[in-house]
């Protein structure tokens, strides 16, 4: 009786854990870059300057 309950609770937890991992992965991919500089700017030394140059 309790086995299927457990399976579904676990499924739910795993699904949300994966979603949380997705948030983390996207965060690493999107947020590490210097968001202030347009992503298409030419490769120049000032690319590394902080936002609002």
């Amino acid at each position: 009786m309790l086995v299927p309950d457990l399976i579904y609770v676990l499924t739910t937890l795993v699904a949300f854990a994966l979603l949380a991992l997705l948030v983390g992965a996207l965060g690493r991919r999107l947020d590490d870059a210097d968001a202030g500089v347009a992503p298409t700017g030419p490769a120049k030394s000032h690319d590394t300057e902080p936002a609002g140059r």
Binding site: P4, D5, I7, Y8, V9, T11, T12, L13, A15, F16, L19, A20, L22, V23, G24, L26, G27, R29, L30, D31, A33, A35, G36, V37, A38, P39, T40, A51, G52
Partner: protein
């Protein structure tokens, strides 16, 4: 009055009503999502929840709040379904099976409101009111909150990825919009003849002398939020074709109005939030024209009534309510599938083959025309970003939308969004039609069986919740498969939408000039509509060809 004239008149009346209410409601929604002040009873709620409503959340923090809240919702509903027989007002209902309870929990927490059960024969009053009805409010609130976060992300620049406060969005939208609106709507519905009581099943003697169990209950209150929140989970299995839920042609029109009004108003609110109403107008124009086209097509399909039986009967009336007739059923069917509501006033399994096809395509559009509350707006905006990317290249600039550049990082997020739903639907259909347990649930074989499975999976993956009614879905296999479709079809896109919102909110604004592609003009409206239709068409035409199209042409 001819059937066609009646069909046109009711659509005109509906459009008129919407045109009156949408701008007002849109402004109100925009105010709700941007005003800094809190109401007193809201402050009390925040204290209760122990959250700081003034904290401007980073998109990740916002996403974790959404996920955390929804996880709790799913688990709570799951337990509720498993123990409802021990709770008050159970009106003799037993516990839901584990797979069914999970499916229902996911279904209501994702604003899908897919129902594998007959509401009146499986769910007690307490679960209806404290479980399902609560989710009707808050799951709608989650969708609206995410859309608001996205609109704010687009409106902001150099904001370090902050997109607003989830708790304040959720509480405000429930307390200031959904509750009062539902209260008023419920009263009107009661006035129009919808049932509202707490009685259990009672036996009545029918006209021909037989006896029938009729269940009363808190129907009107749930009916209101069912439509307003584009939920669609009916109190009765027959949903809005049940006379206790939808007694008259007037209540029918009111319900259609209620399920359309917030999705359209969100587009207006978007324009206000980004401080350029024309942008909201363009989005609304795309939503509106796609909706009108689907209404037109579905009405045509039903009135034309292909097949031998309909021609003999004079109309394709099987499975439809004689109280409303074909045109009102077609309008309801087109609107409910185009808005991710999923309530029905006719059995969609009984729509003509092309009519059923239109309903399926409506859902496969990704619920964007006008889509679910909130979800429709962010879905359409994601498509707008893709369109801007393609069109932007064609005008010779790095594509930009509302002053935000769309580079590689942004397009990765959008690409994942675009990929999610088709993969869920196609994989779901393939699995459902291959696994013996899946095939066992199909009522019919051949093209119509394929349509049934496609409909169910499309409905779940797009959080619509309407059913074709030909599929016996109350099996562990279908409950689990569709549950996964609903869960992933809701939250993967939400995470991606919030990520893009954060990304946009972190960017510098690109000033708009003559070289910038205008996104509020008719050309863009046409292009965005075209992209929406073509992307969906290219993805699903093969499956549709074997299902509704083959059926229509045979």
């Amino acid at each position: 009055m001819s059937a066609v004239l009646a069909a046109v008149l009711q659509v005109l009346l509906l459009v008129l009503l919407l045109a009156l209410v949408v701008p007002l409601l849109g402004r109100y929604l925009a105010h709700l999502f941007t005003a800094p002040t809190h109401l007193r009873f809201e402050r009390a709620t925040y204290r209760l929840l122990r959250v700081d409503p003034d904290a401007d959340q980073h998109w990740r923090s916002y996403a974790f709040s959404v996920l955390g809240f929804s996880l709790v919702s799913v688990l709570f509903l799951f337990v509720f379904g498993r123990v409802q027989q021990w709770l008050p007002l159970d009106i003799g209902m037993s516990a839901l099976p584990a797979d069914g309870a999970w499916n229902t929990a996911v279904s209501f927490a994702t604003n899908t409101n897919w129902q594998w059960y007959s509401g009146e024969a499986a769910i007690g009053h307490l679960m209806q009111m404290a479980g399902l009805a609560v989710q009707n409010f808050v799951s709608a609130g989650v969708g609206l909150a995410v859309a608001a976060a996205f609109a704010r992300g687009l409106a902001r620049t150099s904001a370090g990825g902050r997109v607003g406060n989830f708790w304040s969005d959720l509480v405000r939208v429930v307390l200031r919009l959904l509750l009062p609106a539902s209260f008023v709507a419920a009263l009107v519905l009661v006035a129009l003849g919808v049932v509202q009581n707490l009685s259990g099943p009672r036996g009545v003697t029918t006209l021909d002398g037989g006896t029938q169990q009729v269940t009363g209950g808190p129907v009107a209150s749930q009916e209101a939020i069912k439509e307003i929140g584009t939920n669609g989970g009916g109190f009765y299995n027959a949903n809005s074709s049940h006379p206790f839920e939808n007694p008259t042609a007037l209540s029918n029109l009111l319900e259609i109005f209620l399920l359309l009004v917030i999705p359209f108003a969100m587009a207006w609110a978007f324009g206000v939030i980004v401080r350029d109403r024309r942008q909201g107008g363009a989005v609304m124009a795309v939503m509106g024209s796609l909706w009108l086209v689907s209404v037109g097509l579905l009405t045509w399909a039903e009135l034309a009534g292909h097949g031998t039986a309909p021609s003999l009967a004079g109309a394709a009336m099987e499975g439809k309510e004689t109280r409303f007739g074909e045109a009102a059923s077609a309008l309801f069917a087109a609107s409910t599938t185009a808005t991710s509501t999923g309530s029905v006033n006719a059995m969609h399994d009984s729509l003509t083959a092309p009519g059923g096809g239109v309903a399926i395509v409506n859902m496969l559009l990704g619920e964007v025309a006008p889509g679910g509350v909130g979800a429709g707006l962010y879905g359409m905006l994601m498509l707008a970003v893709v369109t801007v990317f393609l069109a932007g290249l064609m005008v010779g600039r790095t594509p930009e939308y509302l002053g935000h550049k769309i580079g590689q990082r942004e397009i990765v997020v959008v690409a994942l969004y675009i990929l999610t739903m088709p993969v869920l639907v196609l994989a779901g259909v393939a699995i459902g039609l291959t696994a013996p347990a899946g095939l066992a649930g199909l009522q019919e074989s051949g093209s119509h069986g394929l349509s049934e499975a496609l409909y169910a999976v499309a409905s779940a993956s797009n959080n619509n919740g309407s059913a074709f009614a030909g599929l016996a879905t109350g099996t562990p296999f279908w409950n689990t498969l569709l549950g996964l479709c609903m869960l992933l079809g809701r939250f993967v896109p939400i995470v991606l939408v919030l990520a893009l919102a954060g990304r946009f909110a972190a960017q510098h604004r690109v000033p708009v000039g003559a070289g910038t592609l205008p996104t509020h003009r008719p050309l863009f409206v046409i292009l965005l509509s075209g992209v929406t239709v073509i992307v969906v068409g290219l993805t699903f035409v093969p499956v549709l060809a074997l299902g509704p199209i083959a059926e229509s042409l045979s």
